[in-house]
Structure formats: structure tokens, C-alpha cells
């Protein structure tokens, strides 16, 4: 991967550059965050001409290493005002890597009200008119583009909420089954919309193999790595059988399943929305309980959820979405939840922000609690069409809270808090508070150690050890997010020493390097510090590394836990 493309939407130019030496060892999040921090003024308006939208495949993307096909997207986030990286599966990352493209940097914005499509080929990137696609949602855009270019075309696209620059808008990525994966969090779809780019098409004809410096060493490491993924019970068996939704019952039993907009830690109808029920339903109806978001995924945590007639409803049906709609918004019917998931893919909004904002809208009295049918309507006809109500909702949880004068508004730095209550799972609360991305569970997934007993055990209800746990995981995750690997490689990496060593060997073999585990940790630290410095430049201080106040005075049953960290305790996080 030796090319960086710069697309300037102000003067409509497309340039190719070679990769500067200091960026050569970076990929994925490490590269998007480095470019954003170096080139985007931290105080710029995220929807203005000075923000940049950067796409980068990971360091190992396009190689035969399992799980390595994730694409990072980065920019200043309109939802949080912080730096943002969001990674997704789909076909685009591997296509770009095989075309030798290390990053695409989209700058400026057009002065005219016209829409464009970027077309990526081995000859370069051209800026094409896309007015005929405006007003269409993602599946219609993808159908039209596949009619034109054939089924293999790679696609990144935004729906109407992205065109309207709503802060919950995501960027959708076509997957190998012509369905959708998402750069979900942080409103990156609005940044793409602000630059008047409706979609990006990738024709990788003529693309070669990603060069590997030491193929024998790579093959050996790839085998050990793949074996560790299959040997570990979570990645080898749990995830492909039940998907991530197995967490509903375990969080419910542990009292950490936020229910009815974070009022309770357990949900009475948990069994109806559980991973076990979902698995049985999928198997009985002839769907697929395991499925990958990109070629080369051997864990296969995804699934294809079908209706009673066996017809596709949704795929990539994640725990966080099901929690948000099922427990937090109290929708008991899994079919309704699946339809909402599909509509969120179609209109292109983050399914975590979408679910959290719907529960907040219920808190506001805009939608009755548990009314799945009304949620479907609101998603399709209000947010999907950009009505005034749709824009209040589509700008995210914080926007809904403000518009309706609510206090129980679960956000950190403006981003909706996902599926684990910070009062009863305290490590994840530290991650929500300190992450450079706003409330983001994947940034430092302490659930592994607090709840699942992977990588040791730290009591989720006690404060001891949580800051250190979150810090270590956030550092490791920043590094892993740079490789193009999906985050679930962490389960074997935390428990099986050869797994992590094999991952480092893969990078060394691919690039002819001799990195050690310490070098990888240093990379993770460096990325976090670059991101943190950007946020400080944007005006954030340690006073923003805090959870919403209601967590400190509303105890959550069954443990009646409150958020009880002092400011000083949280601020210890950045001592590294």
C-alpha cells in the first residue's frame, strides 16, 4: 500500500501522493487519527470546509490473515466534537488495499448544491456527478450502482440522514452478500454529506496481491493466529453460535443490562430478546446463525435473521442494537427489532445511537415505551425523510434530551452510552468517561474482564483496578484498530499468549519489521495521545471526561450501585 489519494471537493481535484516515511508504519485508526490530528484544525466546524474525512485499510488488510479486512474512517465528529475513528467490515477495505491505496483523504467542500460520487479505479479517483442518487436510501443506491457496475463493485454510501447532515448518520459499506456494514458511530455520514459525496464506488479490476516481505514467516504466523481464534471458546464457538447477542442474558444476570432508559439493570422480558432465543429462531426459520462481515473472517459473529417465511430481514444483528431496542426501549418482539435494524441500515444511521435516541424519545413521551411499530415508522418516515421531528431525533440522543428538557440523558461527549451500565460494570464506565471517542464500549472493552472472566477477573461492582484495566485495554485496542483486525481477536489475545505473538509476527512478516510487544503497546499509547491532544485542542478538558450526573444519584437495581468515582480517580487514566 503505497498511495495516498487526496480529493479536494472545493476545487474538484484528485491527486495521488506517495506515503511519507513517518506514516509508513501506520494503518487503520493509527493512520486516520494521525492524518486528522496533523491536518484538521481542532476547533474547525465538523461540517465545514476545514474538516477532512479519511479512509484507511488496516496494516494487515488485503493479506490472507484472518479477520484483517476492516476499514477505518476518521474525521472530527459532528456528534461529539472530538476526533473520531470508526471501523467496519465489508468489501471496501480489502479492495483498496489490493489496489495499493493506503488512505483516501477527502478535503474541502463544494460551493454549489450538487452531489457527487467518487469512483476509485487503478487509474485513480474521479469525481462524478451523482444527482440521480440524491434522496435515495442505501439499499436503493446500492441496487442502482450494482445495475450499472455489476455485483462486485465496492460501495460506500450515505442515506438521506447523511445528506441532511444529521449527527446520527453513518457511512454504509457493502458487504460480500450485497448487504450493509457500517462506520457507525460519531456521525461520519454527516461529514460525507457535508462534502456532498453521496457515495464512493470501488472497481478493483487489475488490483494485485498485497506484497508480503517474508511469505514463509507470514504463513506460519497466520496459521498459529487462525488456530488460536478457533481454539478459544469465545471466538471459536460462542460468537459463531449465538452472535454477540449472547450478552443479553449474561448482562441481565449480572445486573448490568440497562433497561427502560437506564432505570434498571435487569429486564423482565430478557429471554424473548436473548441470544439463545435468537439462535433458536434463526435455526427454526432457516436463516444463518453464522456469517462473516468480510471475506477472511473465520470467527463469523454475524448472522442472517429471516422472517417466518424464511425471507431476509437483517444481518449483522448485534447485541448493542438488540439491547437498545429490546431492553432499553422495552420492545419485546425480536422481529420488530430486526426490522428496525434493517431500516437503520437502509436510511444509514448508527444502530447504537439510533436505539439509544429512540429510548430517549420514549422518555420524552414522543413514542410509547416498547412500541416497535411506531419506532419503525419514526425511523422510516421522520428520521428517514428529515421531517422537523426527524431532525431533532436524528441528531442523536443528546439532541433529543435537550429538545425535550430531559435529565436522564445517557451520553458522554454527546455520544449515546451503549449496552452496559457503568454503575454496575464500573470498568466500562471508565472507558466511557475517558475514551477519546465519547461513550464507546469498543474503545476499551472491560466487559471481557469485568463480566466474562476473559483476561482475568476484576469485580465489576468495585472501583479497584478499573482505571488500570480500561487504560490497558484502550492502549491495546488503539493498536489493534490499526491492523485492520476486528476487535474480537482480543478474546484469544487476552487468554492465549501465542495469539498475540502471532499477530505481531504477522505485521513483522508483512513489512519486514522486528516489532516487539512493547513496540505495539507504544504505538497504542501514541495513538491515544495524538487523539487526546486533538480533543484538548478542540476545547475538551478533564472536566469532559465525566459521566452524566444522574448516574451518581440514581442507584441501579438489583445491586443499587451508583457511579462513585472521584474526579481525581478518573483523571489518573491519562497518567501514562
Amino acid at each position: 500500500m503505497n498511495k495516498i489519494f487526496r480529493i479536494n471537493m472545493s476545487d474538484m481535484t484528485s491527486k495521488v501522493e506517495s506515503v511519507p516515511a513517518e506514516w509508513a508504519g501506520l494503518g487503520g485508526r493509527g493512520l486516520t487519527s494521525t492524518i486528522v490530528a496533523a491536518e484538521v484544525p481542532p476547533r474547525c466546524h465538523p461540517l465545514g470546509p476545514n474538516n477532512k474525512l479519511v479512509f484507511a485499510p488496516g496494516l494487515l488488510t488485503g493479506t490472507p490473515a484472518a479477520q484483517s479486512g476492516r476499514l477505518s474512517a476518521g474525521a472530527k465528529s459532528p456528534l461529539t466534537g472530538t476526533i473520531k475513528e470508526s471501523n467496519a467490515g465489508g468489501t471496501a477495505a480489502q479492495q483498496l488495499a489490493r489496489m495499493g491505496i493506503k488512505a483516501i483523504v477527502i478535503e474541502g467542500m463544494p460551493s454549489e448544491d450538487k452531489w457527487y460520487r467518487l469512483h476509485v479505479t487503478l487509474d485513480g479517483i474521479s469525481i462524478e456527478p451523482a444527482d440521480e442518487l440524491v434522496g435515495k436510501q442505501n439499499f436503493a443506491v446500492m441496487d442502482q450502482l450494482m445495475d450499472k457496475f455489476g455485483p462486485k463493485i465496492g460501495i460506500l454510501t450515505i442515506g438521506v440522514p447523511g445528506e441532511l447532515r444529521m449527527c446520527a448518520a453513518n457511512i454504509s459499506v457493502k458487504d460480500p452478500d450485497q448487504k450493509i456494514r457500517s462506520h457507525g458511530r460519531g456521525g461520519l455520514g454527516a461529514v460525507m454529506g457535508s462534502k456532498k459525496i453521496k457515495c464512493i464506488t470501488i472497481d478493483d479490476s487489475g488490483g494485485g496481491k498485497v506484497p508480503i516481505a517474508d511469505p514463509d514467516k507470514f504463513r506460519t504466523a497466520a496459521k498459529i493466529f487462525a488456530k488460536s481464534l478457533l481454539d478459544h471458546p469465545v471466538s471459536g464457538e460462542g460468537l459463531p453460535t449465538y452472535g454477540t447477542n449472547i450478552l443479553i442474558n449474561i448482562l441481565n444476570e449480572a445486573g448490568g443490562l440497562p433497561t427502560k432508559n437506564f432505570r434498571y439493570g435487569q429486564c423482565e422480558h430478557h429471554e424473548k430478546i436473548s441470544g439463545e432465543t435468537m439462535h433458536e429462531t434463526i435455526v427454526a426459520r432457516g436463516g444463518k446463525h453464522k456469517h462473516g462481515c468480510h471475506a477472511g473472517c473465520i470467527i463469523q459473529c454475524s448472522q442472517v435473521y429471516v422472517d417466518e417465511a424464511g425471507i431476509y430481514v437483517t444481518s449483522g444483528f448485534e447485541y448493542e442494537t438488540i439491547w437498545g431496542l429490546g431492553a432499553n426501549a422495552m420492545i419485546e418482539n425480536l422481529d420488530d427489532i430486526a426490522k428496525c435494524d434493517n431500516i437503520m441500515d437502509d436510511i444509514g444511521i448508527d444502530s447504537i445511537e439510533g436505539a439509544v435516541l429512540l429510548a430517549t424519545a420514549m422518555e420524552a413521551g414522543v413514542i410509547p415505551w416498547g412500541d416497535g411499530k411506531e419506532c419503525l415508522r419514526v425511523l422510516r418516515d421522520e428520521i428517514g425523510k428529515g421531517t422537523p421531528l426527524g431532525r431533532i431525533l436524528g441528531n442523536g440522543t443528546a439532541s433529543v434530551g435537550k429538545a425535550y428538557g430531559l435529565v436522564r440523558v445517557p451520553v458522554v461527549k454527546g455520544q449515546g452510552i451503549p449496552a452496559y451500565d457503568p454503575r454496575s460494570v464500573k470498568g466500562i464506565g471508565v472507558t466511557y468517561a475517558t475514551s477519546t471517542m465519547g461513550a464507546d464500549h469498543t474503545a476499551g472493552y472491560t466487559i471481557a474482564t469485568n463480566i466474562l472472566k476473559v483476561g482475568g477477573y476484576i469485580d465489576p461492582l468495585k472501583k479497584e483496578g478499573q482505571v488500570e484495566l480500561s487504560r490497558n485495554l484502550q492502549i491495546a485496542t488503539a493498536a489493534v484498530d490499526s491492523t485492520g483486525m476486528c476487535v474480537f481477536i482480543a478474546f484469544p489475545a487476552l487468554d492465549i499468549p501465542e495469539s498475540f505473538t502471532a499477530l505481531i509476527d504477522l505485521i513483522n512478516a508483512a513489512y519486514g519489521l522486528s516489532l516487539t510487544a512493547d513496540d505495539v503497546t507504544e504505538l497504542g499509547k501514541k495513538i491515544l495521545k495524538i487523539e487526546h491532544d486533538f480533543n484538548k485542542g478542540a476545547g475538551f478538558t478533564n472536566q469532559d471526561d465525566r459521566l452524566p450526573e444522574f448516574f451518581t444519584y440514581e442507584p441501579i437495581p438489583p445491586h443499587n450501585a451508583v457511579w462513585d468515582f472521584t474526579d481525581e480517580e478518573i483523571d489518573e487514566f491519562w497518567n501514562f
Binding site: 442474558n249 444476570e253 466474562l452 478474546f491
Partner: protein, 74 residues
Amino acid sequence: MKITVKLFAGFRENRFKVAERELADGCTIAGVLSDLGISEPELGVALINGRHVTLDQVLSDGETVSLFPKVGGG
């Protein structure tokens, strides 16, 4: 003593979701597993009344035990 046992994920296969079991006084989590024919390495997480416990935890009459194999998500 009477103990309520809740099973999850693969532990449910050929067993049950929830059942009341009659166990000897002083029975531990390890004892519950052997009563159910589950080997110790298969256990991911055991909770009593929503708190994580270890294999040697002694049960008291009337408690609810939740048992999970090694599973995860994120």
C-alpha cells in the same frame, strides 16, 4: 437444601433453562456442575444472585445460581 439453577447458552442442550435442584448441605458450585454433568473447564461464569463466584463457593438454601459456558460478545 433447595437451589434454583439457571442455565444459559450451550449448557441448556439436553438439560433445562431453569430448575429447582435438591442438593446436599455445603454443596459448592463445583458440586452443582458435577450434579449436572458439566466439566469444570467448560464453565465460563457462575453467578449467585448476580455476583460472580468461584468454583469453591458454598451455596445456601434458597439461592439462585446462574451458569454460563465460555461465551462473549461486544
